[in-house]
Amino acid sequence: MDAILLQILNGLDKGSAYALIALGLTLIFGTLGVVNFAHGALFMLGAFCSVTLSRLLTLSFETIDETKTDFLGNPMKVKTPYVEAWFGPETGAAIIDWAVPLSILFAIPIMISIGFAMERGLIKHFYKRPHADQILVTFGLAIVLQEIIKYFFGANPIPTPAPDVFKGSFDFGVLLGFDPNVIIYPYWRMVYFLFAMIIIGGVFAFLQFTTFGMVVRAGMADRETVGLLGIDIDKRFTMMFGLAAAVAGLAGVMYAPINSPNYHMGMDFLVLSFVVVVVGGMGSLPGAVLAGFLLGILESFASMTWVKSILPGIDQIIIYLVAIIILLTRPRGLMGRKGVMED
């Protein structure tokens, strides 16, 4: 029982990342009908937003401290980040410590503008081209974005720590009456899960309860009729692309402390997220979220030792296996709508 609970918890954070990326992919696909292979790159860009901000915050100047000497007897140079000089040492240190959560504010405008630029500059010209062309051009874009990041940040993963408050783990089992130290769960992963839930809830609420969201949903169901009603649906869809980019970016920002960002993390997640979208059903937002968590949890179950001892290697292939079975038995995916991308 405790082992099962632990695996469910372990699956949640990966599942949250899958769900967030898949949500963005589905938003783009459902609104614009575009298969976006560059979505993983957007996730990666988000992660590098937090790297950038934490680097910006730690920009420092050097002063010579006469009171201290280094081992050669020379006066020691002390680096002081500008932030600490401006806001005082304590506030400054706190700001640096909270770089990753602060990056959320930093990332939102950046990701939205990247999304806008992508849609207006490139994707717009591909609405009427076949899906294969869309896949290919966004694949090319993903390579370009990835290489740009590699050029500026290098090929190695860059550790980006979470705030000190969230270091360490939470003993989850004690709450439920298990022995201590059986079910422990890092605080940051809990934060990530909650964050993902907030974002997902926010997106759904936005689509469900605002007039804008209503129009977008109407456009997803029948673009032509909405257009005939005199609504400029393209403009709204562009905004949805920006939103989807922001969702992917935020998923990346908060994921940075879990897995040190490197330039190809997006590609690694992209393949899995596509599988998630297909399992959930093309164009179905709840399906994407459900499938994201489901596959995340399944993956962590498959990596339990006794499962691996029965079926060696299952942890490596479980997601693909599930995808193949689902695609062949339920062509529409778990919650796919009728008539969307069925062939």
């Binding site: 290919l136 290489e147 292939i317």
Partner: protein
């Protein structure tokens, strides 16, 4: 000749000539001169040209003719490599059984994967093949380590049994791959004045196989079977309505292209007897897609051109560093020289992939027919300039747009 019409015979002869005289064509600059770094006529690179040419020709039979975009073709290449290396380990260092086994095993694999994946089409097909390829890649890395040697990659060792050969040479080294006694690494260097040309046995084996592969693909393109595949691409629904089942045709195309990939993998292992899982990764599958599209999907010569283009620039571009750039722009004033070097720097050397990505995006956006279409447009433009007549768009590549009332 050989059942080809005049135009195709010319094409085949051009390919044969290109392949046979590649050591001359690719070494246009005297060795030791400043331009020698643009020479591509060394055996290792030439082998890669033709091997990836074979891979792309095979991929084109599936993607170019049927329109099914597979994102998992590298899996077949990897499987081919592994089986070839096993053949070297167990049977003999002769490349013939290794290449044959590579094709057979890759063929069997593609029967399996194709049978399942081809039940869906469009993007679902792409994702299914991608899933299968990633599964093979992950398995090769983890559980199948006894067969694939995991991260290290499968290599020859001194205690391999090698039933029809020797485990180790008299000098105590690992024997080299050969074709009935001709060592694959045997290279004859011909010096003519300042030029030097390398003739490598392995390259010529690969080149002959590629010519053969090209001929087969030519015949497939011109056959009734090829027409059926084109019909699948242009309108599968209509094909279904006429009472034809497209599945056997697409499956056959999938298996053929899988075997081409296996052949390429087997050749790769024959030239350099090791095999690693990274050959199966989906980025490797993406590479062959890039080659085919860049050259021109659905055209005969396109994939070969694309493969050569990408492999050539990968090697040459990645060798250009800041020193070379400074040499190039040395005639400019210092400030301008530095600025230019600074501007070009991100696109060369390690940044070659950036150039490739940008190029690929441009090609997909503006030139969906790839280099071949570019060439056609250029020649049409030239002809128009000369004769001042409108040749009109090529009917094969630009089907008449059907008029539609509403989008």
């Amino acid at each position: 000749m050989l059942g080809l019409d005049k135009k195709d015979t010319t094409l085949l002869l051009v390919v044969i000539a290109l392949a046979m005289f590649a050591p001359f064509l690719l070494n246009p600059f005297p060795s030791g001169s400043a331009m020698a770094q643009f020479n591509a006529g060394y055996p290792d690179l030439m082998q890669r040209f033709v091997i990836f040419g074979i891979f792309a020709i095979g991929f084109n039979i599936l993607f170019g003719l049927t329109g099914y975009l597979s994102f998992g073709h590298a899996a077949f290449l990897g499987v081919g490599s592994y089986s070839a290396v096993w053949m070297f380990k167990l049977l003999s260092m002769n490349v013939v059984p290794a290449i044959l086994l590579a094709m057979v095993i890759a063929g069997l694999f593609s029967v399996l994967i194709g049978f399942v994946s081809l039940r869906r089409s469009g993007i679902y097909f792409s994702i299914l093949t991608l899933a299968f390829a990633q599964m093979s890649f992950n398995l090769a890395y983890s559980v199948l380590t006894p067969i694939t040697n995991g991260e290290t990659g499968l290599q020859l060792t001194l205690d391999d049994p090698r039933v029809l050969g020797q485990s180790a040479t008299d000098q105590g080294g690992i024997p080299v791959t050969n074709f009935f006694g001709i060592e694959m690494r045997a290279t004859h260097t011909l010096d003519v004045g300042a030029w030097s040309f390398d003739f490598n046995a392995g390259y010529y084996l690969c080149a002959i196989i590629m010519i053969f592969a090209f001929y087969i693909s030519l015949r497939i393109f011109r056959s009734p079977f090829g027409l059926m595949l084109r019909a699948v691409k242009s309108n599968q629904q209509r094909l279904n309505y006429t009472g034809l089942n497209p599945k056997p045709y697409t499956l056959a195309a999938f298996i053929i292209s899988g075997m081409y990939a296996g052949l390429a993998g087997g050749l790769m292992a024959s030239m350099d007897p090791l095999a690693g899982a990274e050959r199966m990764q989906w980025t490797a599958s993406g590479e062959v897609v890039l080659m085919t599209i860049l050259g021109g999907a659905g055209t005969l010569i396109g994939p070969v051109l694309g493969a050569g283009f990408i492999k050539y620039f990968e090697n040459i571009f990645s060798k250009i560093n800041d020193n070379v750039l400074h040499q190039w722009f040395a005639f400019l004033p210092d400030g301008m020289e530095d600025t230019l070097v600074f501007l070009v720097h991100p696109f060369v050397g390690k940044g070659w992939h950036l150039t490739l990505g940008i190029l690929f995006m441009l090609v997909v956006t503006f030139l969906p027919g790839g280099l071949v279409e570019g060439g056609q447009r250029l020649s049409r433009l030239l002809r128009r300039g000369r004769k001042d007549e409108d040749a009109g768009p090529d009917p094969e590549h630009h089907p008449k747009e059907t008029p539609h009332v509403a989008e």
